[in-house]
Symmetry: C2
Subunit: 246 residues, 2 copies
Amino acid sequence: MLVKLKIKYIQSLGQKKFRDAEGVFIAEGPKIIKELLASENTRLINVFAVEEWMETNRSLIKNFSSDDIVKISDSELERISFLQTPNQVLGIFAKPIFNADFDDAKIMLLLDEIQDPGNMGTLIRTADWFGIKKIICSNNSADVFNPKVVQSSMGSIAHVKIVYEDLRSFIHGHPEVPVYATTLHGDDIFKIEKIKNGFILIGNESKGICEELLSLATHQITIPKSGDAESLNAAVAAAIVMAVLV
Amino acid sequence: MLVKLKIKYIQSLGQKKFRDAEGVFIAEGPKIIKELLASENTRLINVFAVEEWMETNRSLIKNFSSDDIVKISDSELERISFLQTPNQVLGIFAKPIFNADFDDAKIMLLLDEIQDPGNMGTLIRTADWFGIKKIICSNNSADVFNPKVVQSSMGSIAHVKIVYEDLRSFIHGHPEVPVYATTLHGDDIFKIEKIKNGFILIGNESKGICEELLSLATHQITIPKSGDAESLNAAVAAAIVMAVLV
């Protein structure tokens, strides 16, 4: 059973200030929980699950103590879930802290003020598909541990290392690495060779990449347009660039 | 000033049954309203705008009567807006009805049960970027006149013709047209030539393309994966396919 205080505690983790203070984040649903339990990037604090999940995940559960994995009722899950349709299990995990080293990641995404949680989650998922292991977010980007981001990353938050940094200093710290910036008037991405190392810089949903960062780009690249839309969604543009260049 | 009854009427248009009964839809914000007022695909029923919008759009307004364009206060806009942050202007437009003819569209998107409004809007916007002029949605797809879809299409709903049809009969009706279906085990899209005509079939967010439709595909295609994600977001996968094939 869940005491009131625990329910309030879990609900508070919807807010960044409480996640930061506690150093934890929330994930929901069998798929993401399974990926996070298997991930080296984080460690389990608590899982709260209904009987159905307990039954189908016995082999997974046996590595943990009964303090770690708490059985709850459907109505308790409804009270703590951040989803419109609660999905069997909710977990609290330690927020991992990574460094911005470039050694283990040949190509990185650099995100300049991505604001929409759905876009952020989709960017993480797409990077994971194309084997990009590290993402550097500007300090004014959306929090990747927001429950909506975790959810829309579809488990990829367990595979990709994410760091918040001042992007200007970060780029200055790696003068030898080419920086590819997506703009509306750059070189056609289909005329560029695949890259072996580099930073792919993606800008804010409405403002694009800020001037200061754009001036640090070594390559301005563009997805050729043949229709009437003024722009592409930021996560879509990044996905096309990754598909073509990585 | 807005009477109570009008406010209730506008609020009711958030629901599909009332949009269908009235044959109208809602759009918000200066950019989308401008695109829709200029579009041949729809016609204006009413615009409700605050003074700021009236002032900056005088030349646009002068083509319409004062019955068409109604000045309202900020607090009135807040009451009728479907946005978290209301944005100067809300318009009611006639829902356009198109046929599924293939003559004016060489390449079409076929959407099989796309459910998420954000994905649907992004698909319309991306199709518009790549010059795809018509989209056929299965009858169980999300309503493209849902305010969230209209908003995330970023004005492209004014450029792209959208039709709801039974996809099985539609494909059967065009036996000469190649059907490209995105699956996890098809041919590498980067080894396929650009296409001049064809249907690009995109499946539901979690179930993919239904078996029956998949059996009608002439080409199964795949976006090669080099990382750990299990799948790509539907709108992202469609965007990569359009970028590479169209």
